[in-house]
Amino acid sequence: MTDIDAVQVEQVSRVFAGGRRTVTALDDVSLSLAPGEFVSLIGPSGCGKSTLLRLIADLDAPSSGTVSVFGKTAQQARLDQDYGIAFQQAGLLPWRTVAANIALPLELHKVPASARKSRVAELLALVGLEDFASHYPDQLSGGMQQRVAIARALAEKPRLLLMDEPFGALDEMTRERMQTELVRLAAETGAAVVFVTHSIPEAVFLSDRVIVMSPRPGRITREIELGLGPAAERGERLRESTDFYAAVTAVREALHGEGAALPVGVETR
């Protein structure tokens, strides 16, 4: 690959010093992400997957090691707005309409009003919420709120999207629909995605590569390369295919530590 890596994490540790005992949230973690690659971080609670994402977003700093985003420091990338971010809570501002919420990052970064307006219209169409532009967040369902949050994360056409369990609070049906939409969005925008989840089928459906992590201390135990075809072709049929089940099984076994993972392009480092 000739491009610079979207994300390069090198030998990063993060230790939280909390009074009597210290917690090692991440221990010697290395990871790299190619431009346009969709990577999921999966693991049980406390494995440091959210911490890793927060380090990439420069919402937290590593105790040791380096994080670079598009060849810059994580801080410079944040200041340059190289990534968009979405959390488990949609985190919309309740006093702003849907359109004004999506416009927020554009407003903060002084995009002229006319450009802002057309971009918001584009994004509303992208997430299928054209009819809800002037609604307030509390008038929307959880799934719709999360779609607004994703539109907001995409507002500045970032080449990197960071998502921390964005569908964690949604019901199963909404969740699957959102996953299908996200795969489409990621393919359309060509953005690299780091996606934190604890759902195995979700990680498998969305990703080009799944990073399996284990807790205490937080470490990467396995990386599983999935060959489930181009994002644009992923749909409901994929969820019922044997390849999908095989991949789910592989990730599950990697998670539970059984040595015999299926050979679905398993790659161990």
């Binding site: 977003a57 420069d58 919402l59 944040r78 200041l79 707005q81 990534y83 971010i85 959390f87 809570q89 985190g91 501002l93 309740p94 006093w95 927020l104 990052p105 407003e107 903060l108 970064h109 307030y136 967040p137 509390d138």
Partner: protein
């Protein structure tokens, strides 16, 4: 042909259910009061009959109106000034920790001190012909609830919003304008709602300690001193109306802001 929509009729019936019982209760109470005073031949200086009070209101509407304007005006000036100072200081206290620590004991003292007690001191400071002491008393009384509520509102930024602002590399001022201030607004106005009643009570009671004899409080004391018991009660009625107007107006403001603010 009359077939009201079921929603209209049910809404009407719910209005009836909420409005009628208290009105009926109030009417019964006044009727019982009237019957008790007349039946037991209670002396007017103990308790005048509602009919006598109503007669006084009916005879002197202009006087009660003017006195209400004086007292209400003092309360309004005090409320606005006290709330403005409170909002500015709350902003400073939220931004600068040291100020918060320094001001906390003073604010606590203001919150528990019976402010009207300082009225006599203020009358000697500003002269007995001035309304200013009453406005200051109302202002100090209004200060504490607005300050405390606004400060709480300013501190109530959700972590997810704070992180979002960091992720957007927003400047502190941008974060304040986009997240902190709009989030604090409903808190501010619920503080103003509490402060409104306090301002009216304080402005009224401050009149008991001296100053120009034009407000409701002064007229209540002078009417009572001159055996005008029904008249005194008529002014009390005026005071209730002033208090209600302040309460409802600020409640309306609060509702309007929180509807726009959507802090369900």
């Amino acid at each position: 042909m009359r077939s009201p929509a079921p929603s209209t009729s049910s809404r009407l019936s719910s209005v009836w259910r909420t409005v009628v019982p208290p009105v009926v209760f109030g009417v019964l109470l006044i009727a019982a009061w009237q019957a008790f005073v007349v039946g037991a031949q209670i002396k007017p200086f103990l308790l005048p009959a509602p009919s006598a009070i109503w007669q006084m209101i009916h005879q002197n509407p202009a006087l009660i109106w003017r006195a209400s304007l004086v007292t209400g005006g003092n309360a309004l000036v005090g409320l606005i000034a006290g709330a403005l100072v409170a909002v500015v200081l709350a902003g400073v206290a939220a931004a600068v920790r040291v100020v918060d620590h320094l001001s906390a004991p003073i604010v606590a003292a203001i919150a528990v001190l019976p402010i009207v007690a300082v009225a006599p001191v203020l009358y000697t400071m500003f002269g007995a012909g001035s309304q200013l002491p009453r406005q200051i008393v109302a202002g100090i009384a209004a200060f504490a609830p607005v300050f405390l509520n606004t400060l709480r509102g300013l501190r109530q930024v959700r972590p997810v919003h704070r992180e979002l602002m960091t992720a957007y590399a927003a400047t502190p001022w941008q974060a304040t304008r986009a997240v902190t201030l709009p989030g604090a607004l409903p808190y501010l106005f619920s503080g103003v709602n509490v402060a409104a009643s306090l301002a009216v009570i304080s402005a009224l009671v401050a009149e008991y300690f001296g100053g120009p004899q034009t407000g409701l409080g002064s007229l209540i004391t002078s009417a009572a001193a001159n055996s005008g018991y029904a008249a005194a009660w008529a002014y009390v009625f005026g005071a209730i109306v002033v208090g209600l107007v302040f309460y409802l107006a600020t409640l309306g403001l609060e509702k309007a802001v929180s509807r726009g603010g959507r802090t369900a």
